[in-house]
């Protein structure tokens, strides 16, 4: 447990001191909002509202990818990753600490991106802030678990920045489908559909357990 807190605290402190990852992710998401604006044919607000949930989650996944790619890159300096691997603690807790830090950074980016989307696409997110925040958090949880595990894999390979999306995207599909489905229903004022909520919960649980258990084999000296 203290390992978890130590790793989480260290990651957040690093993030707080240089803001590199967070600022890159936020600027990247804002750029995506601009790109999506030009990618969509000129359409009225109701039409863009139908695309918005999918685009919003695409932006989240891309931002998460950008952030996770850097999650272990800092640990390569001074061979800190080997230090982590050699620490006489359960590696599962190291994983949870890293994943929690990634989750918090991603959640901050999600908040700012959602605000930008609401302005750009005239979405009434503020009116449904609570259920949307819940779905966004559940999505971020799964993305952080998967992303942290496979960032640790990709960082030890050639072409690491190329490999992470190839590993992450196919596995992130159920998460993405459920989150988009739920977000669309929330924006349409239909509340959170139980089917997508259950799927999100199950996907999060499966990814958290699989990542927690297999991190042992991924982190090596």
């Amino acid at each position: 447990m203290s390992t978890f807190v130590a790793v989480l605290w260290k990651d957040l402190l690093c993030e707080w001191r240089n803001h590199e990852r967070l600022s890159a992710m936020v600027v990247f998401s804002l750029l995506l909002v601009v790109i999506f604006h030009f990618a969509l044919p000129e359409s009225s607000a109701p039409a863009s509202r139908t695309y918005a949930p999918g685009l919003l989650w695409a932006a989240y996944v891309f931002a998460a990818l950008l952030g996770h790619n850097r999650a272990f890159a800092a640990e390569l300096e001074n061979d800190a990753l080997s230090g982590l691997a050699l620490a006489p603690v359960d590696r599962g807790w190291i994983f949870l600490g890293k994943a929690a830090a990634n989750f918090l950074v991603l959640a901050a980016v999600q908040f700012l991106t959602a605000a930008a989307f609401a302005l750009a696409f005239e979405l009434e997110l503020a009116a449904h802030a609570l259920p949307f925040a819940g779905i966004a958090a559940l999505g971020a949880l799964g993305l952080s678990c998967l992303g942290t595990l496979f960032a640790a894999v990709a960082v030890r390979t050639r072409f690491r920045d190329v490999l992470l999306p190839l590993l992450l995207f196919p596995l992130a599909i159920p998460l993405l489908a459920a989150a988009v489905h739920a977000t669309a229903a929330i924006l349409a004022g239909r509340g959170v559909p139980p089917a997508s909520l259950h799927l999100l919960l199950v996907v999060d649980a499966v990814y958290a357990i699989v990542s927690f258990l297999s991190f042992e084999y991924v982190l090596d000296e």
């Binding site: 030890r156 390979t157 072409f159 190839l166 599909i173 159920p174 799927l199 499966v206 699989v210």
Partner: protein, 230 residues
């Protein structure tokens, strides 16, 4: 001086499988040719005898990849890893063939090459996952590390199948014919289908053994070079 050629594993299995495969393929081709044409779909339906058995073998390959990956993580033996790698490669090959034969059949019956139907999407996602698996194997350096990384990804790839299924169900239905579930193939269609399944499985086994043999040869060659250096 030439080094003695290494004894190849699975030599006999390969020979038996090869002979069996030739006989089966001939019988299969004959049966498909003689099979009655489907009343509504016409001759294009015959691709079914190839498409579905190939899919069975592809799924088997992915399942074996995860199974031997888990065995490798558990026991750490190189043989399980070699089997997992071979099963993934052959599985991806079979799955590619499924994704090629599927659209041909679809164009003939549904009028379009692709639809985001549940089974199509699921198969495409599986293919993408295991292509990623093969890329991971080739990008990861160091035998043991590559094996561990690949094993973890292979297991995650299997774990995601039911999740993907529910994700697709969330938004779409299925176009696939349901008659297989009810076990009501038309008269004269059962034999070519059964032969197709057996042929495809034997072909899978043959390629699997061949792939394992290639790995063994490569390893023996590496060891020989290493020995001559030292």
């Amino acid at each position: 001086m030439t080094a003695p050629s290494p004894t190849l594993p699975l030599r006999r299995t390969l020979r038996i499988c090869g002979a069996l495969l030739l006989a089966l393929a001939a019988a299969f081709a004959f049966c498909v040719w003689r099979a009655p044409e489907d009343a509504t779909q016409g001759v294009i339906q015959k691709i079914f005898y190839l498409h579905v058995p190939l899919a069975f073998s592809a799924y088997l390959g992915f399942f074996l990849t995860a199974l031997f990956g888990a065995l490798f993580l558990w026991r750490g033996d190189e043989r399980s890893d070699r089997l997992a790698a071979a099963a993934a490669e052959v599985g991806v090959l079979f799955c590619s063939l499924v994704l090629i034969t599927g659209p041909i059949w679809a164009k003939g019956t549904w009028g379009r090459f692709w639809s985001w139907d549940a089974r199509l999407t699921l198969t495409l996602l599986l293919w993408l996952i295991y292509v990623g698996y093969l890329l991971l194997r080739s990008f990861a350096e160091g035998g043991d590390r590559a094996a561990r990384f690949a094993a973890v990804y292979g297991i995650a790839g299997i774990a995601v199948i039911p999740l993907n299924y529910f994700a697709i169900e969330l938004s779409r239905g299925s176009l696939h014919p349901e008659n297989l579930e009810r076990g009501s193939l038309g008269a004269g269609m059962g034999l070519p289908f059964a032969l197709g399944v057996v042929t495809s499985l034997v072909c899978f086994l043959f390629l699997l053994c061949l792939r394992i043999q290639v790995t063994a040869l490569r390893r023996a060659e590496e060891q020989r070079l290493y020995a001559s250096d030292a």
